[in-house]
Symmetry: C2
Subunit: 462 residues, 2 copies
Amino acid sequence: MTDSRIASLQQACPGLKLKTDPADLEHYGRDWTRRWTPAPLAIALPATVEEVQAVMRWSAGEGVAVVPSGGRTGLSGGAVAANGELVLSLERMNKALAYDAVDRTLVVQAGMPLEALHNAALDHGLIYPVDFAARGSCTIGGNIATNAGGIRVIRYGNTREWIAGLKVVTASGELLELNKGLIKNSSGYDFRQLLIGSEGTLGVIVEATVKLTDPPPASNVMLLALPSFEVLMQVFAAFRARLQLQAFEFFTDRALEHVLAHGAQAPFDEVHPYYVVTEFAANDEAQEAAAMAAFEDCMGNGWVSDGVISASDAQAAQLWRLREGITESLARYKPYKNDVSVRISAMPAFLAETQALIGQAYPHFDVVWFGHIGDGNLHINVLKPDDTSDADFVAQCEQVTKLLAQVLARFDGSISAEHGIGLVKNGYLDSTRGPAEIALMKAVKRAFDPQARLNPGKLFDV
Amino acid sequence: MTDSRIASLQQACPGLKLKTDPADLEHYGRDWTRRWTPAPLAIALPATVEEVQAVMRWSAGEGVAVVPSGGRTGLSGGAVAANGELVLSLERMNKALAYDAVDRTLVVQAGMPLEALHNAALDHGLIYPVDFAARGSCTIGGNIATNAGGIRVIRYGNTREWIAGLKVVTASGELLELNKGLIKNSSGYDFRQLLIGSEGTLGVIVEATVKLTDPPPASNVMLLALPSFEVLMQVFAAFRARLQLQAFEFFTDRALEHVLAHGAQAPFDEVHPYYVVTEFAANDEAQEAAAMAAFEDCMGNGWVSDGVISASDAQAAQLWRLREGITESLARYKPYKNDVSVRISAMPAFLAETQALIGQAYPHFDVVWFGHIGDGNLHINVLKPDDTSDADFVAQCEQVTKLLAQVLARFDGSISAEHGIGLVKNGYLDSTRGPAEIALMKAVKRAFDPQARLNPGKLFDV
C-alpha cells in the first residue's frame, strides 16, 4: 500500500474499494487461461459509474493501464493483468436497474452475472436467450466485450443482437450513452456495435440495455450417435430442414469419456465415435412427428446409429450435461484450445482437412473435439500429457495453430469464433483480418485511447 | 471534358465509364432532397471492384472528393454532390454474384436495386425481408450505408440484421473484406457494423453478403380507423399482445386525403382522423380469431371506430397502397421532413408533446403525420404552401426542428430514425449524440479518411 499511485487513486476517488492483498492480486489478475503470471498493481471495485469515471481520469493522470474485469471466465487472456495494470472489476456493479414492459428491455449493470440476468428476465415472464456453460460466473459486461456466442446462437444469434443500448466510460473518463434503447437510430456511426466485441480496448462497459423476448415453445432434447465425422453435416441438414432448431451441438467419444469419468451417466450401452445433442421446438404432434421423421431419415441413410429423446425436463438436463460438462471435465488437463469458425457451407471440407491436420500433428496428444456445428464453430481441445511441461506443450500446440491458421485463411474462416483474441491469439489475427483492416483497427484504437491505457496488449500491440 | 483531373482519371482507369453532360451532372448530383444545386465534377460508373479502387487511388492523388451513389432516393442529402465532387455511381454493379443454399446467403453487388434483391431471393424460395416504398429505385448499397429501416422492422429489424459480410473500398483504394459471411467471428472490431449506417463517409460499399430467410406464413392486412391520437399506443398494445405483427403503420386523415387525391380508393364511407395499417400472421383459425379478438377489444374500448380486413391479396395491396402512396402523393408539395424516433414506451408522452408543438408552430401549414409506430418512428411532413418561397419555407421549418430537437433530447430520442443525417440534419446531430461521442465519430472518420475525401460534409464537418 506504499505505492504512491495507489495513494493518489484513493485521493482521487475517496470512497473507492481497493484490494491489494497478494491473494487478491492473484485472483483478479487472471482469467480461465493459466498461461500468464498475474501481476496487477491493485484491484479497484467501483460501486458507481462515477467511480469508474474517476478511476479512468486517475489512469489518464498517472499513465497507469487499466484492465476491465468481469467474471474472468475468458479463454483467451482478455482479462489478464500481468504488467502492473490496475484491474477494474465490475463485480460490485451487478444489479438490474430498470425493466420496461412496453420496450421489453432490462437495464443492467455490467457486472451482473449471466445467470442472474436469465433469472431477472424470467421474473418478468421473458427470457434473455444468450446462454453457455459459464453462465454462473461470467458477466453481461464481459459477454458484450467479447460478443459472446454459446449454445443458442443457431436460434437467437450472438450477444450483439440483444443489446439495445450501452453506457461506456472512455479512456479519458467521459461517459458515452450509446443508442439509448432505440429500435431505429440512423444518426451516424453506431459505436454500440463497435464496442461490442472490442475486448475492453476501447472503453469500459458499465451498463447495458438488453432486449428480452418470449420464452420458446416447449422443446425436446435428442442425443444422436453418429458412426463417422463425414455424416455430421448431413444430419444437421436433415434436422434443420424439418425442425425449428434451438441448439445443435457436436462432440466426440473422447469428450464423452471425460464427462463420464467426471460423473455423468452413459447414454448408450455401446460406444460411438461421434455424438450430437440437439434441442428443437416440440409443442405439438406435428413437430414431434417431424423430429421422428428426421431421426428415421438419418437412421435409414446410415448417418445415425442410435438415439435417445428426452421424456422429461430432468432427462433433457441429463443429456445437456453430456455436452455442457465437457469444458469442466477437461480443466485439469490444462487444455490448449482452438476456437475456430467457417461458413456452414464450408464446414464439411474444412472438417476433413482439419481432422487430417490434427491427426498428423498430434500423434501423441489426446485431442477432444466439440462445437456449435450449426454456427460453423468448432472447438478443438488438446490435453496436456502429465509428463510434458506447460511451456513445451504450448510451444508444440502453437506450431499446429500456425498450420490451422493457414487452413482457416484459405477457407475464409476465423481464428476466434467466440472466445476473442485477447493475448492468446493476437499472433494469429492476420490469418482472419487483412493488413488494411488491422491497420484501421489500430487507428480506431488510437482514436479512442491515444495513450493505449485500456487493456494494453489485448487484440494487438499498438 | 477539358478538366485535367478528368483526363488524369481516364488515364488512371482507362476502361472507366464517365459522364460529364450537364443533364447527367444534374441527374446524378442530387437525391430526393431538392435543397442543393448539383455541381459534381463528373460521374464515374465503374463496372468492377478494381475500377472502384482505381477511382479512389486517383481521388487520393488528385485530392478530389468522392460521393458514393446508389439509387439517390435518400431524403437527407446524403448523396448530394454540390461542390465539384466526383460522383461514384454503383448503378452498373447491380448483379447477384453467388447464392449458397446451406448458408442461405446471397452475395450481391452494391448497386442492385432492393426490388431486384427481393426477386432474386424469391427465385431461391426465400425472402430478403427489409422493405419500403422506394424499393424499385433504391439500392442495397445505399440501404446498408443508411441502415435502412422501412415497413417490416417490427418483425425483421433494420438492414443491419441482414448483412453477413461486406466488401468495402477505402479512401486510399484498399479493399476490405469484412466478416466474410461468418455467423461467429470474435476477432476484433466488427467494421462491418461500423460501415453499416456510415453514410458513405468511411468507405465505398461495393459488395454485400445478405442473409435470406423463409417466407412468412400467410398474412392478413387490416385497416383501422381511430377516433383520436391518444389511443394509438393502446391499439398497438392490443394487437401486439395477440398477434405476430409484421407491420404496424400509422397515418392521419391529411395523409389519406393526399393519397386519395392521387387516385387511391377511399376505404370507408366516413372520414376518420387517424388510421392504422397492420399486417400479421394469419395462417390458421386461431390466429384469425386472435385478430378478431384484438379488433373487438379495441372497438369495445372505443379505441377503434371502424375497420376492414383484406379478403384477398389484391385487397391487401389496395390497403397497403393507402400507406405506401403517401410519400409520392406529397412530393409535389416539396415537403419538409422530420424523421424521428423514441423508445416505444416513450411514444405516448412524446406524441402528445410533439403534437402540441407542431400544432402551435405551424398554424398555417399543412402537416401530414405518418410512421412506423411499432418501432417508435414518426414521420412529420410539412407541406410548402405555393405562395411561400423554398428558402423561406425551409427557414421557418428549421426553427421548429430546433424546438423538436430539444424535445427529442429530453426523451432520449433520435433526430434521424432511418433517413440518416446527411446534409439535412448535421446541424442537429448534437441533439441525439453527446459531445464526446461526436468527437470520437470525427476521430474515427479521420482514422478511415484522413484527407476527408469521402462524402465530405455529410454527417458532420471534420
